[in-house]
């Protein structure tokens, strides 16, 4: 009973805004007409409109592509580097610190760095490739490569997170089973697959969960590098909601898109959490 006031405040602070988002999604709210904030005459109108809008579904597909690519590449890069750096050495310790730099940069700075790299006439990357006789066209204005260009920048920014988490997990793996496996003749691959991987699997699941949720929040890179283009090729659902809400002032509609996103993230979290639970049980 003594906890009730604290729980009420917590509920108000955490659930209040989310509840308001859901309520707003049931109205055609637009700031041009403030009365629309209380117009509940067609509460499912926004949702019906969303489900029949091609641009929304396209944004969902772009989101799935981006999330899949970035989560996989960040896990692979992070795990690979963590395995390489998991040795007692002062040099490697210094290198570890260097690898963390992209993660601590403000997202907008990361976006500017990659904007320069992707702008052909000023890009050292483009100039180098041209010098090597391998010229390439702009990656961010080609619909076939734009999403990959975003994914590369996102991976560069966030692989240190997975690297750091997995390195910590690797260092927690007990020495005895590893030594026993070596004595039994296990090579490096077998040692990793049969001994170290089972120990770090819960951490891998946590990394997937974090990076998956973060990938759905992708915004600064897309805003700076492609503005959702070319022709919507990099417009993820988050960006679609932003445009509808803040560029066109369809607040009710944007809230409905955001509500669907929250629901999607919630379901994803449950799924990944279950996977994590199973991994820990094993």
């Amino acid at each position: 009973m003594g906890l009730l006031p604290a729980l009420l405040v917590l509920a108000l602070v955490t659930l209040g805004p989310a509840l308001y988002l859901i309520i707003t999604s049931l109205t055609p709210l637009t700031p041009v007409n403030p009365d629309t904030a209380f117009d509940f005459s067609d509460p499912l109108g926004n949702y019906q409109s969303i489900l029949t809008t091609d641009e929304f579904w396209r944004s969902v597909w772009v989101q799935i592509e981006l999330s899949a690519v970035t989560v996989v590449t960040q896990l692979a890069a992070g795990l690979g580097l963590a395995l390489l750096l998991d040795r007692p050495s002062r040099f490697l310790e210094a290198l570890r610190t260097g690898f963390l730099v992209p993660m601590v940069l403000p997202p907008i700075v990361v976006a500017i760095i990659w904007k320069i790299l992707y702008t052909p006439d000023i890009s050292p990357l483009h100039h180098l490739l041209a010098w090597l006789g391998l010229p390439i066209h702009s990656l961010i204005t080609n619909p076939s490569t734009a999403i990959w260009a975003i994914a590369a920048a996102d991976t560069w920014e966030w692989f240190p997170f997975t690297m750091l988490m997995l390195l910590a997990a690797l260092q927690m793996v007990p020495k005895e089973p590893q030594e026993a496996a070596r004595i039994d003749g296990a090579n490096a691959v077998q040692l990793f697959w049969h001994v170290r991987l089972p120990y770090i699997r819960p951490t891998l699941v946590v990394c997937v969960l974090f990076r998956l949720i973060d990938s759905i929040k992708a915004f600064p890179l897309i805003y700076v590098l492609t503005d959702g283009g070319p022709g919507g090729a990099t417009q993820v659902t988050n960006y679609y909601a932003f445009e509808q809400t803040f560029s066109f002032s369809y607040w009710g509609y944007g809230s409905a898109v955001a509500t669907l996103m929250v629901a999607g993230v919630f379901v994803l979290s449950i799924m990944v959490n279950r996977l994590g639970g199973e991994a820990i049980d094993e």
């Binding site: 041009v32 409109s49 070319p230 022709g231 560029s247 002032s249």
Partner: protein, 446 residues
Amino acid sequence: MSTRRIHRRQVLASAAGGAGLLMLPGKAPAQGGAKKLAGVTLNVSCWSSSYPKFLADYIPEFEQATGAKVNYETPSFPIYNQRMDIELSTKSDAHDVVNVTFIFSGRWVGAGWVIPLTDYINDPKKTPADWDVNDFLPGSTSAFKDRQGRLCAIPWIADVHMAGASRYDLIQQAGMKLPDTFDELAAVLKAVNKKDDIPAFVVENHYGWTFIPFLQGFGGNVFRNPPTDLMPMLDSPEAVAAADFFCAMLRDYGPDGVLSYTYDQVLETLKQGRANYSSSNETFLVQMANPDSKVAKTCALSLTPGGPAGRFPNVAAHGWGIPVGSRNKDAAWDFITWAMSKELTQRMFNDHGYSSVTRRSMIQRPEFREKMRINGTDVAQLYLDTLDLGAKGYTVYRTVAPYPPVDHEIDVAIQRIISRQQSAKEAMAQAQQNALTQLKRAGVKL
């Protein structure tokens, strides 16, 4: 204590500034009265551009003369518009003086979110007679009038579209001149593309702005008959032909990655001589003649080329207005009359070369005309001619409340055509469908 030498020009500038400040209604400091706005804090906001940056240099003078404290902010264009749309719609008192953005003027003025200024303008106690509101060019004020014809913002810029070549010498070497028609444009771009390894054509990737002179030049329009009939016309044969022509020019003669070129990139590319020809805002194109430009001696400007249906250069204006929620409306008006006084306009031109002025008296001054003569071209006259064209009213499509989402659909369609995701016909048909959806969502009856 630091000392510095005072130059004659600074003395003259300060004297002119002082004269401008004395125009402010009420007792001037020299008359022995208390400072008129002592204790007042004015919150002023405008999107970041040349003029707002220049203005920041003079605001301490306003504070010194009036006693007011000015909080001045200049976020980027999209951030400003998003933020202000929310502030104004909620009738917030967070700002006292705001920029009324052209593309939002129909919405902000139409909804009564900024107040009519006629009571201030017509009151001799609040506005000196020689401030002269009629001096502002009609092409720059028309977007800021409400249904009763009352002016709701004072324009600080008339943003007009012109055309320009950074390397006119290459065009001359090809035996040609700056194009006057779309046919000539196609011929010139073909002739000079890749000459000196320079791509021939570049425009800003805001196609809801840069494509429209082509759309209208081909006889198309965004809406059927704005502002009364807002049925989109993006899939008309004229619109498809215009999109096909415009995108082919950019795809064939634009620099690699042209789809990502923002206005500042276009400007720098032109100034560095890395692209030749552009259809862009006058305020950017004239900077090709700046001392820091590599093409100052070879650049040339002209009117925007016309198509089969005529010449339709973009004309937009942005102006200072007072939000309905402001608690310092009188002081806000003092700020606006100071910022848009003839004296300060003259000083900004003298000190910074600011040329997109909205006062006819300024444009007619011999020193303005002389300074605006770029490699033999009378740019001031081009500016006036463009504004005269704009006064015909074909830009009204931009000022209707639901234009922003349609603007976005045009952007997307042009991107899809240039990047070969869709043909012009397919992309414009999709833009039409999406625009209809957007307009219905906005509650527009079609």
